[in-house]
């Protein structure tokens, strides 16, 4: 069973062994509005924690998606290129962005669990 963590930049990360799946939260997609374009990194790209991993554009804005932890991109969700609205429809499922092979699993320690993230959102809103 994967463990889900969250960042203060509203990304989620599901950890399964040394591979993690990254997306943006329901709150993030709601704030962005209709997503019209997603720019994904090349498979094989190395990202550092907090570095830019992808770009998501809505009708309102273009925003970076940051890597919650460092690692190497092992897969990207190509389906988002044709159907970017999937990010709005199913942010925690079919709307995932990319998979990372973790560089340093200890980086996960700084992330929030679901309860902490809910509290964080409630505080920000």
């Amino acid at each position: 069973m994967a463990t889900r963590k969250f960042t203060r930049d509203h990304e989620w990360i599901d950890i399964d062994g040394d591979v993690a799946t990254v997306g943006i939260t329901d709150y993030a997609q709601e704030q962005l509005g209709d997503v019209v374009y997603v720019e994904l990194p090349a498979v094989g790209k190395r990202v550092t924690r907090g570095g830019e991993a992808a770009v998501v554009e809505s009708v309102k804005a273009a925003s970076e998606v940051y890597a919650p932890v460092g690692g190497t991109v092992v897969a990207v969700n190509d389906g988002l290129t044709a159907e970017p609205a999937t990010v709005n429809a199913d942010p925690f499922g079919a709307g995932w962005f990319l998979r990372l092979k973790l560089a340093d699993p200890s980086e996960l320690d700084g992330l929030m669990d679901e309860a902490a993230y809910r509290a964080f959102v409630a505080e920000t809103a």
Binding site: Y37, E39, E57, A61
Partner: protein, 448 residues
């Protein structure tokens, strides 16, 4: 209140605030050889009448392409511009060359830009076009940058048939960028093999069509070779009138088409302002630089125009923007749109045919001058002559005879012995039989 913007006190206060001792200190990054030691020695001010007289004297020193037989080309072409173009672009609603900052209030401008994009897409055979770039050369550099983004590769190959100024512009962009330009040597005979140079690191190949030396080549095999290696084909057109007659770059498989639009609606004016055209495939539109006008409907269902896909641009995406192009050649784009609309599809094709026929007639006649050879086996309205003497000398001698005989290749590519006898010669719908008579006779005289 007195308005004294720069008192000595103001200056010293400002210098103190930024920690500089003198104004000159702000320019230390500029090499000393490029700085003026003293003010330029200019004559004292004069009245309007005297100034007009002085400038008329300067103007008389010019040999205007409109007052003498002119065969100049090489990226800047003499064409007729209907009087209606000038009258219409000067209407108050249109007379601004700048992109509106509150775009939707300028529905007429946006509609004109939308029509412009439609025309550019049609004549290039592409799916989408932007609302214009500065000129053909900078559009070419932007095409290379775009190809790098699309392919995530960093090497581009420039054909030796690319205009030398365009090549230099791309190389200037590359000088401090993270990408590599492989420029092939000048290729007057169109014999280069670009395809064999494409590899898995190649972002794009850039070819000119018709080429700088005038040749027309079927680009479909090159497009296939590029695509087989995951690279893009960028096609550059410096004489856009050709597109009225030749197969479109889009039909031959181009991924990006850039062009200089000056030939349609924009006069020769000492090198500017010019008009860059930029078109591509719909799937690349997010990586396309520049502004895009879009058609839509308002809340009540009425048609309207907007600037669209702006999330790619600087004012929203900041340093992550697709490019730093945030303006367009609005007034030139409008002139282009009006001229091409006046021509219509059939008129554009007819204009192109007139250009080609004039060039064919001229080439036939010049080829009969002793010692002169036309090196092209194909061309549109411009071709290359091989002369028995350095072309610069011949052209200078012909200027004395009142003929602007063409552009010596050595003017643009100096210090290359193999090119020094080559002369680019262009004809257009404005070229008359009498012009050709004068040219042929004068050339025969100079070479005799």
């Amino acid at each position: 209140m007195r308005y004294l913007p720069l008192t000595p006190e103001d200056r010293s206060a400002m210098l103190a605030a930024i920690g500089a001792r003198s104004i000159d200190e702000l320019f230390i990054d500029v090499p000393k050889s490029a700085r003026l030691a003293a003010l330029v020695d200019l004559p004292p001010h004069q009245g309007e009448i005297e100034v007009e007289r002085a400038f008329q004297d300067f103007a008389r020193a010019n040999l205007s392409p409109f007052s003498t037989p002119c065969f100049l080309g090489a990226g800047a072409y003499r064409h007729h511009i209907p009087a209606a173009v000038d009258a219409l672009i000067q209407r108050g609603e249109f007379l601004t060359s700048y992109t509106p900052y509150q775009p939707e209030i300028s529905q007429g401008t946006l509609q004109a830009l939308f029509e412009f994009q439609t025309l550019v897409a049609l004549i290039t055979g592409m799916e989408v076009a932007n609302a214009s770039m500065y000129d053909g050369a900078s559009a070419t550099a932007e095409a290379v940058l775009m190809a790098n983004r699309v392919t995530r590769r960093e090497k581009s190959i420039l054909s030796g048939g690319l205009h030398p100024h365009y090549r230099e512009t791309v190389e200037t962009y590359a000088r401090y960028g993270d990408f590599v330009i492989e420029s092939l040597p000048p290729d007057p005979e169109a014999k280069e093999d670009v395809a064999s140079r494409i590899d898995g690191d190649t972002a794009c190949v850039v070819v000119q069509y018709p080429g700088f030396f005038g040749h027309l080549r079927d680009l479909a095999p090159l497009a296939e070779a590029a695509h087989a290696k995951g690279a893009l084909l960028v096609v550059v057109v410096t004489e856009v009138v050709a597109l009225g007659l030749v197969e479109t770059p889009g039909a031959m498989g181009a991924d990006i088409v850039v062009a200089e639009g000056q030939s349609i609606g924009v006069p020769l004016g000492f090198g500017g302002p010019y008009l860059g055209l930029f078109a591509t495939r719909e799937r690349f539109v997010r990586q396309m630089p520049g502004r895009l006008a879009g058609a839509t409907v308002d809340a009540d269902g009425r048609p309207g125009y907007v600037l669209t896909l702006s999330t790619r641009e600087q004012h929203i995406r900041r340093e992550k923007a697709t490019s730093n192009i945030c303006t367009n050649s609005g007034l030139c784009a409008l002139a282009f749109t009006i001229h091409l609309t006046l021509l219509g599809e059939a008129g554009f094709a007819r204009l192109a045919r007139l250009n080609h026929e004039a060039a064919c007639a001229l080439a036939d006649r010049l080829a009969r001058v002793k010692g002169v050879r036309v090196i092209n086996d194909s061309f549109f309205n411009e071709f290359t002559l091989a002369l028995p003497r350095p072309a610069i000398e011949v052209v200078d001698a012909l200027v004395d005879a009142g003929v602007l005989a063409g552009v010596p290749v050595a003017r643009l590519s100096p210090n290359q012995p193999l090119l020094e006898r080559l002369l680019l010669v262009a004809a257009s719908e404005l070229t008359t039989e009498a012009d050709m008579d004068v040219y042929v006779a004068a050339l025969a005289g100079v070479l005799a």
